[in-house]
Symmetry: C3
Subunit: 290 residues, 3 copies
């Protein structure tokens, strides 16, 4: 191991944080009457949100309680991972330790080795891990002198009817956080002036997302979620599979603001639409989890 | 309303500029013998170009003289829009006022609410609005000390044969500014050394464009058209649906320079090709409108 | 010609470097038992790597020894090219001279004029030309005070079964450097701490690549390969057709690190996967050619 390369854990490091991912299989409802025979982490697709802070030593335990071989690829780790968690047989477990040296918004997903890496993602076995940068790193937070009012951790992901459609890039459903049109059915509540930070991750596995709000211009965006990669004043961000953005935006007024992947035919109309419902006396949930 | 958030109009503001968009339906010729049963603004698809200056208070009136419900989403506005122009019944009209606080190149499109937002774009009901930044904001303009010789407002857009192809992302035609191979049939004339500024907008609704010139390297590009987001020396820009770029380039010599979306199979061969025809004694049109 | 525009050659310039491209047609093996009836430069698809240095005057001779009309579009050239090498009949040749004023990673491809420009790329007739910037231009090279240990020139490209699939964007094979799963069969060897520089070019002609390493975070990336366009700490880069990146990364440890286009269904599973095989006593090849 190369100790001076960022990402590697120090020898015999004691983890600052530890997380347990339990791999298995289950039927998951992604819409009324629509059952997805999914591969899952901790009972859901997407799997649980993991949040750590830049510089922390992170331990991930993966246990396979399912009937198939599983594994893990964790994009926040710049260190050897395949050797430790790349192939976990049913009934077995693996352990990975890394240092979260790169701030950003990352995908993790099942990676049992070989072609399984590619098709297990098709099966819904993925989630988001966020490495929070050192305090006050994002510009709007520095300018306003406060944390966001609402943090929205938003995963865009696709479900296919069969392998042929997966090869051809023809998703049947495209979702935000696990359900078709989820935030149309259950809008995200906000108040005028609320400072929202989106942690937007497109896990794909195929489509290029274009994340936009009707009535909104993203004030600041950060490619990969890294504060060093800022652009400003954008109507959308173009986000390939496993690409991500942190987006800062304040709600300008009352009323509904649609959030949508602006690829209308291949994505939005298949479920990648939601609503930010703004009113002055809204009861606000401060964190929206995948 | 939150007065300190950029984009909201001041109370009782008198508009600096006002625009009228008339929504209806019509048959439009997009190629010899090819009729597109389109939804349109002001008689054409794409609709009229709107240009304002950063900081101006802008009024948009939309009148529906057609037989279907129409509406408006205007990406240059960071303010509540759906409430005012989101759903305009036949015979009705709506009015939106906003402050153009974010410089850039934006899409506007019909947004009658619900699934119509997605499918009306399929029907050709969109256009470009440009918010010009404060004077001398783009680098080549500052360096040369003069305005561009030619401003090319260029919309890339797609037409589908049916809803199934729209879902599957299989466009039948991909065009620059309303006609298949338009600027092959009627080239854009220029002279060597001419300073061209492209306002390139991909309205999609599905494909990711890759805008390139044969014999050209883009000297400076600005994501979203915002002067703050500059990159330099690029053979192409990758532009998702409703993403945009301002591009600065000088014509290096005489002869033809093809402009093209370099996604050759899914886009260029379906019509997204044009010609910059350069000769020293060319008669030049200073603005190319959509 | 406009002498003060970067890219044009000076009058009567003596080339610093000269390259010969021989255009023809041949059957090429892209996998065991898979024959691709290709159009080729210098006997292979992709064609030969061309490397020049920023500021050099470059001469390209193209000879057509095949049975079809060929030609050349060379994206590193900001000068009139179509007139000189745009259409080369069988048995003929052409000559282009330009100054390599824009550092970066570029595509070249056959461009015989008309629709052939689009379909000859389908036929495999393309390659990479790199314009190396002035010394020490990339950040990791400056920081470490040395050249990369391994330069990987990596072209992602697609093969289609027929024109219909080409229009529809449904590739049959997606490859790195000419063979399906090439670097799975013949891994790229490295040692822990090795400083790798990828010159990644997506020639398409259709798909948007997402280039990622399992167990790796790209330390620095440069859009188009231009040192001025840096971003840092990214799990992937989203790369449209003819877009490119220079990527700097150090191998964190021993073991296998997969490189992959993270568009799993449309690209990776069709061949766009490779392995960086790291071990302390590896015998390393310092340059990986397309």
């Amino acid at each position: 191991m190369a100790p001076d390369i960022p990402g590697n854990p120090p020898p015999n490091a004691v983890p600052d944080k530890s997380f347990l991912l339990i791999a298995s299989e289950a039927d998951v409802m992604i819409d009324d009457g629509v059952v997805f025979k999914a591969f899952i982490f901790n009972g859901t697709t997407p799997g649980p949100l993991i949040v750590v802070r830049e510089g922390e030593v992170v331990e991930i335990i993966i246990k396979n309680v399912g009937g198939f071989t599983h594994g893990l690829s964790i994009h926040a780790a710049n260190t050897q991972t395949s050797k430790f968690v790349g192939n976990i047989a049913p009934g077995s477990e693996g352990r990975l330790v890394f240092t979260a040296d790169f701030p950003g918004v990352y995908m993790y997903h099942c990676a049992p080795g070989g072609h399984g890496i590619l098709t297990y993602t098709l099966a819904g076995m993925y989630g988001m891990i966020v490495v929070e940068p050192k305090k006050d790193s994002y510009l709007l937070e520095r300018t306003l002198g406060r944390e966001p009012d609402i943090k929205v951790y938003l995963i865009q992901h696709e479900v296919y009817l069969n392998g042929r459609d997966f090869f051809d890039g023809k998703a049947a459903y495209v979702m935000f956080n696990g359900k078709v049109f989820r935030y149309v059915t259950e809008p995200i509540h906000a108040r005028p002036c609320d400072y929202i930070r989106f942690y937007f991750l497109n896990v794909g596995p195929n489509h290029v997302a274009s994340f936009h709000a009707v009535g909104g211009i993203w004030e600041y965006v950060y490619q990969g979620g890294n504060p060093a990669n800022m652009a400003m004043g954008l109507q959308t961000v173009t986000v390939g599979p496993t690409d991500s953005y942190v987006i800062e935006w304040r709600v300008p007024d009352e009323g509904n603001f649609l959030i949508v992947s602006h690829a209308f035919g291949t994505q939005a109309i298949k479920g990648a639409v939601g609503i930010i419902a703004s009113s002055s006396n809204a009861s606000v949930q401060n964190v929206i989890y995948p």
